[in-house]
Symmetry: C3
């Protein structure tokens, strides 16, 4: 499986491929595929049920409506929330606590569109129908409310030493 | 039930009312009511036990001593922590990762007092016995250590594009 | 047990020592000791399995390789992530959402080294092989990418009132 290879390649803490089976980010994808299938066929309640079971076991909440590419690796994963109209490109790497959320309003596209090969640091919060260009890197803890260009780097301010 | 109506009204991702039964924020309230009752009657261990069971199933930790109004909707909810002396007004909407915590010290009121109709964005951290005025909006990721006036808006700094 | 005494002393919300048995931060340590033992003896898969079971029950993810001192109290704990080469000194107090993570690179020491008696506020993110000096206090939500001196205080910027 492509994702298992991705995890093994990307996580320096891993020792053997069976360890990947212990990764919540792998299971979140295993659950999301059928949930998204059911969602597309209008079985919304069943889709949400699978999504919530997945959240219980993995700590990762992906709305069944979200479109997630291949090779998307959610490392650690606890607290990740991905909204209904979010789009996540291929080979995106994201860490725990990432939010792809909405701002208020009644638009059709309410959540971020994340390009291929983007890295989203731990606790990054991206809100609204913004575009994160391919290859961009969003630093840990950064709040993003605007588009980010391809290969752009967004950093959160560091804490201040007193 | 009032909260089911509130959830259905407030979450644009919802399709039918039975879906509300899948919401951790609903179950956190269902668990908190008896926990708070036991706490008020001095059964602290049993109250904490229910609170910790609720945390296990919902990812939301509400100390049994916290006073929570009606129609309080905790969306997504993973990582929310609400402390012992916190007060949350009616119809408050809060997202995952919100902390209503304490700062050090030996005061009786150690946690925030949140007014009616306040919105607390994802990952907002509010510490100490501060007052968040009715109708205030606290942006995602904001750190709040002081009082916020009625209908005040607090925003966290966005990440900086390099 | 030393940690039970520490929890009782440090959490003003606690009423009796049996309550400490409900604390996820206690169980995270109970799981981590055998996981670390197995890791040191090269049983990496089994070590990770215990670590992931602990994460499921506590919401706290500690890599089996991390070296954790005595009396380390992780309060609330949901979303805490501690990496493989992290070192946490004695009597450290940390809150939920704390990350001791890595930055990219192929070094041997990839994660923070945290001194004795440090306090790490809720949601603090510390990345890379930085040293947090003994007695330092890292405020809630702070991002730390550099060394912090002994007894240093690091604060995150508060949200801005509009």
């Amino acid at each position: 499986m492509y994702l298992i290879k991705t995890i093994k390649k990307r996580d320096p803490a891993i020792r053997s491929w069976p360890e990947t089976l212990l990764y919540p980010g792998l299971w979140a994808m295993v659950f999301h595929r059928p949930a998204h299938f059911l969602y597309k066929h209008g079985l919304f309640f069943l889709a949400r049920l699978i999504s919530q079971i997945s959240r219980f076991f993995t700590g990762i909440e992906i709305h069944p409506g979200a479109r997630i590419g291949r090779g998307v690796f959610i490392d650690h994963g606890m607290g990740v929330v991905i909204g209904e109209t979010a789009v996540v490109g291929n080979d995106v790497l994201m860490y725990h606590g990432v939010t792809l959320g909405a701002t208020s309003g009644e638009k059709i596209q309410r959540h971020p569109i994340v390009g291929d090969n983007v890295i989203l640091g731990a606790g990054a919060i991206i809100l609204g129908a913004v575009r994160i260009g391919a290859g961009a890197k969003i630093g840990a803890g950064a709040l993003v409310l605007k588009d980010v260009p391809e290969n752009g780097i967004v950093m959160s301010a560091s804490g201040i030493l007193r």
